[in-house]
C-alpha cells in the first residue's frame, strides 16, 4: 500500500534526527590536513621565489628593490588554496593553516608581504637545486613584477611580441 510505504519513509527520516548545524553559532571544526589560507613566515624565507613560480593563480609577486632587498607579496585574491607554494618551499616557510573564513570588505587584508634582505652567492646567485625539472626556476635574474598595480609581468607576452624588454627593463627570455 502506497500510504504504508510513505509512512515508513517518513519514519526513516524522523529517526535520522536533525543533522544541520546552526552555523555560525556552532562552527564545524576543520580536520588537521585542511588546506586553508597559507601563512608566510618571513623569518624562514630565503627569497628563492619558488612559491611565486609555482603558483597556478599567479598570486605571489616578487620585486627586487635593489641588490639586497627582495619583496615577496602574497595577494590572496585568486588563491585557490592548492598548497603548491607550501609543497615547493625548500625551507617550509609556508604553512597551510586551517583558516577558511576569510571574508573581508577590504581585499588588502588578505595580503602578506615579506621584505627580505638577500645575500647572494657572489658567483652564481642561485639559492637551491630544484628537485625536478618540472619545478625548476626558469625565471633567472632580477624580477620586476608590478606590485603597485598588483600585476605579474608575463614573460610569454614578451615572447609573443619577440620583445626582449618589458618597460625598458631587459629580461631574459625563456
Amino acid at each position: 500500500m502506497s500510504v504504508l510505504s510513505k509512512c515508513r519513509e517518513a519514519l526513516l527520516c524522523l529517526r535520522a534526527g536533525r543533522v544541520t548545524l546552526p552555523y555560525p553559532a556552532q562552527p564545524r571544526p576543520t580536520p588537521p590536513r585542511f588546506r586553508g589560507r597559507p601563512i608566510f613566515n618571513a623569518a624562514k624565507c630565503i627569497g628563492c621565489a619558488g612559491c611565486a613560480n609555482n603558483c597556478p593563480a599567479r598570486e605571489i609577486l616578487v620585486v627586487d628593490l635593489c641588490q639586497e632587498i627582495r619583496v615577496i607579496q602574497y595577494l590572496g585574491r585568486r588563491c585557490t588554496f592548492c598548497g603548491r607554494c607550501a609543497e615547493v618551499c625548500p625551507e617550509k616557510a609556508i604553512t597551510m593553516s586551517r583558516d577558511f573564513e576569510t571574508a573581508t570588505p577590504q581585499i588588502r587584508d588578505l595580503r602578506q608581504r615579506l621584505d627580505l634582505f638577500m645575500s647572494t652567492c657572489q658567483r652564481c646567485g642561485r639559492c637551491f637545486q630544484a628537485p625536478s625539472p618540472l619545478e625548476q626556476l626558469k625565471l633567472k635574474g632580477y624580477r620586476f613584477d608590478d606590485v603597485e598595480h598588483e600585476r605579474w609581468i608575463f614573460r610569454s607576452k614578451a615572447f609573443l611580441d619577440s620583445d626582449a624588454t618589458v618597460d625598458d627593463i631587459p629580461i631574459e627570455l625563456d
Binding site: 510513505k6 517518513a10 527520516c13 524522523l14 543533522v19
Partner: protein, 306 residues
Amino acid sequence: MNLLWTILGSALNVAAVVLLAPLAEGVLRKITARIQSRQGPPLLQPYYDLLKLLGKEDLESGECPRVQRFAACLAPTAILAVATFLPMGFAAPMHAHGDVILLVYLLTLVGISTLLAGLAAGSAYSLLGISREMMTMITLEPLFAVALIAGAVHTRSFHLDTVLHGSVYATPGVPWSGFLLLGVFLLALPAFVQRVPFDVAEAETEIMEGALMEYSGPKLALIKFAQMAKLVTYCGLFVALFAPWGSHLVFPVGWLVFWLKVFLLVLLVTFVAATHARYRVDQAIRYFALLLGAACVALVLASLGH
C-alpha cells in the same frame, strides 16, 4: 442587533484567519524541516516574511501593472470573504446574506484571482502557470460544488447554516454518500490548497513560480498571504462540511475545537507534502477526473436518499 453580531462575527473570523494563517504555514514549514532532518525556520517566520515584503518598494514589472495590483488585492479579499461565510465555532456571520451558491462563486473567485494575476504578468512562464491552474480549476472546483449540493440535497435547503454543518451525513440511514465524499475530499485536500503532490501550477523547479512570476514586494506579500489563508480556510470548510462535531459548543470552547481540527488537517497536508513528489499536470488531471467521477456517484447516491 443582528447587524452588530454580523459585523463582530465577520471581524472575528477575518482576524482569526489573518492572525492564524501564517502560524499554520510556520507549523507546516517546521514539521517539513523535521521530516527532512534539518532545523527549519522559526515558527513565526511567515510573519516576518510578510512584514518584510510589505516594507519593500512596489515595483512595476509585467504586462499590466494596474491589473496586477488589482489581482493582488483581490486574492486576499476573496479568501477573507469566504472566511466570513464559514462557521468557525459559531454560526457563519454572513449566513443571512448569502447562501451556498454564493459560497461556490466566492470560491471560484479565489481561483480567478490567481488566473488574473498570471495573465496580467504576461510572461511565458506565468502564462504556462495559469494554463495549468485553469486545467486544475476546471476539474477541481466542481468537487466542492458537488459536496455542497449533496449537503443541500440531504437537508433540502441552500441555507449556509444548515448545509455547512455536517449536512453530508444528514441521511436517515448510513450516510454512504457522506463517507464517499469524505474520502474524495481527503484525497483532494492537497490539491485545493496547492501543496505537493499537486502544486503543478507553481512548480518552482519547472516553471519558476508560474503565475507569481512578476510579483515582488507588497503585491507578493498579499498573494502569499492569500495562499496561506487559503490553506486554513479550505481546511475550515472541510471541517465545517465533514467534521462539525464539537464546533457548536459554547464560545470560546467551540471556537478552540474548530481551530484544533483545522490544525490537525494542516498536519495531514504537511505530512503528505513532505513524503511525495510532484505530479505532472496530465497525471494530476487524470487523478482529479477520477475523484470527480466518484463525487458524482456520491451525488447520485445522495439524491437517492443514501
